[in-house]
């Protein structure tokens, strides 16, 4: 069973996907569904070939589906439900189950960005998909149940609320000032400098002034590029360089592979966003120290207000100096 239900209080969709209760949960390494399968193997995997660079496969337990069932309950009033139309893909970063991703060659990151660009264009061309969301959950602390290095793509049939809110803010800012809010914030962060962590030719990484997580980092395109679709080859290659640098810094911070959520925010594929959507990546590591996690608890889950135990300027200094 999968459907989306309307929350009349938050005025947003919640996806119910009950088949995901039974999804593959921390299988032994020999049964990894993402490793390449030798054609002679008895155990098939999602990638039936001897090796691969990067592979995109369908999520075997998709929250969103091309042809979902009709919802059982919908009263058209306070209990509204719609089919959970969409797509869920898995992006396998390497065929090496044990790879430390930050140690992969720069070219592998560049290939990954090119794959993201292809998937953004392809999934975004389907009129059912209003937002193509590229993301990665990394580490058991964030709930990862398969250890083979991989990210995900959800093609939602709506613009998700956290992304909707920032787009609305940027649209309003543009109406008031004529400028893209992301461009203005990036310029202010660069002027200030205290929270900048790394710069490449076309991208800037910084801990945002309003960070929610202790070691949150954002990577902004320096130019006003709304989405991966507008990337030229030099942007693809340079974002690959930046991604490797961000991961190297994260892994150097506490000397282990730092868990995080990585979220790509860019232009919706519903035709909106012109002039105010701006490609950027947000990283939210759950660690607030090497040993301690920031849990989302009463203030965050019940009230919606984040309490960050780390000063953004201090986190940025540590991330600058850890390499």
């Amino acid at each position: 069973m999968t459907e989306r239900r309307w929350d009349p209080f938050q005025r947003e969709w919640v996806v119910t996907a009950t088949h995901r209760q039974d999804r593959t949960f921390k299988p032994p390494k020999d049964y990894c569904p993402f490793c390449p399968a030798d054609p002679d193997d008895e155990v098939p995997t999602a990638v039936p070939r001897e090796e691969y660079d990067i592979a995109v496969v369908e999520n075997a337990f998709p929250s969103l589906q091309p042809d979902p069932p009709e919802p059982a309950v919908d009263d058209g009033d306070l209990f509204r439900a719609k089919p959970a139309t969409g797509a869920c893909e898995v992006v396998l970063f390497t065929d090496d189950h044990d790879a430390v991703v930050s140690e992969l060659p720069t070219e592998q990151f560049q290939r990954l960005v090119a794959v993201w660009q292809d998937r953004y264009r392809d999934l975004g061309a389907d009129p059912d998909h209003e937002y193509v969301y590229v993301f990665e959950n990394r580490g058991e602390e964030i709930g990862v149940t398969l250890e083979h290095p991989h990210g995900q793509i959800y093609a939602y049939p709506f613009v998700p609320p956290r992304i909707r809110r920032e787009l609305d803010a940027s649209r309003d800012h543009r109406e008031e000032t004529g400028e893209c809010l992301f461009c203005d914030v990036l310029a202010a962060e660069r002027d200030d400098g205290a929270r900048i962590v790394a710069e490449t030719d076309h991208f800037t990484a910084f801990v945002p002034f309003q960070a929610r997580y202790a070691y949150e980092m954002h990577v902004y395109a320096d130019d006003h590029l709304p989405s991966l679709d507008e990337f030229e080859g030099r942007h693809v290659d340079d974002l690959g360089r930046m991604l490797k640098e961000v991961l190297l810094r994260y892994d150097a911070l506490f000397d282990f592979e730092l868990p995080y959520v990585m979220a790509l925010h860019q232009r919706p594929t519903d035709g909106s966003g012109d002039g105010y959507a701006h490609f950027h990546i947000e990283f939210y590591p759950p660690h607030r120290t090497a040993q301690k996690l920031k849990h989302l608890a009463g203030s965050e889950r019940g009230a919606g207000t984040f309490v960050n135990n780390k000063l953004a300027e201090a986190a940025a200094a540590e991330l600058r100096e850890c390499l």
Copy 2:
């Protein structure tokens, strides 16, 4: 250091409280700061008396403070900060460190509701406090660092965004229909019945249609009571009964003390909410099965869209039948 910073994208405040990095973290039982302290003890605690029923103490590591420092950075434009004015209190549910809360007598829950009512009125009378938020983080899985049974109260200098959004929705609904949205949803849930878990004289517990967490439960006041301030003695006593029943059901579900976030939502103390605020309690347990947790990951943290792996109707049936 503590201050609140404005997020220009989500258009909400984020609290930075760096002194909380050093807060007491899972102390041995002999050093519990919430146990009653024998006057002859060498180790003082927050409650220097031999015993107590329920105690309210100041949070030793408050995110919000009556006299917070002025923010260091505030450019009045994209980098806005304000003092983190407010109050943080801890409510000790019992002096018995090892108590199983659901097994406390009904009278103890009734005393607790009366204490909440007192604190809501007292903290709400301070014009610096626009929202008095009563909540509980229960269980290590949700990040609890002190095991003595306790809840918390935050008096925020603003209405937090998740609560702001539901109040805005209820206000708009009232403008359109003349009715309180909470009253209408409660009536629809009672009409449907499939998600109702328990009823007492004045309160109804149900798994909401739009549940985000597998075993999420909401407890609504049957009457249109905006806040604890309007509770008469019979409401106080009856909510005590309902709380005990909810906890007994949660603990019976998987035969252990189920972790959760408990969030009291009611009328802000800034003068708003007349006619559309409605007292209710929301419980968010992180468990999706007896062994597995629902982690908030890419879709929830980065996009804001929750994926629930459990059908609300099925969860309600289990919670109805577990006692």
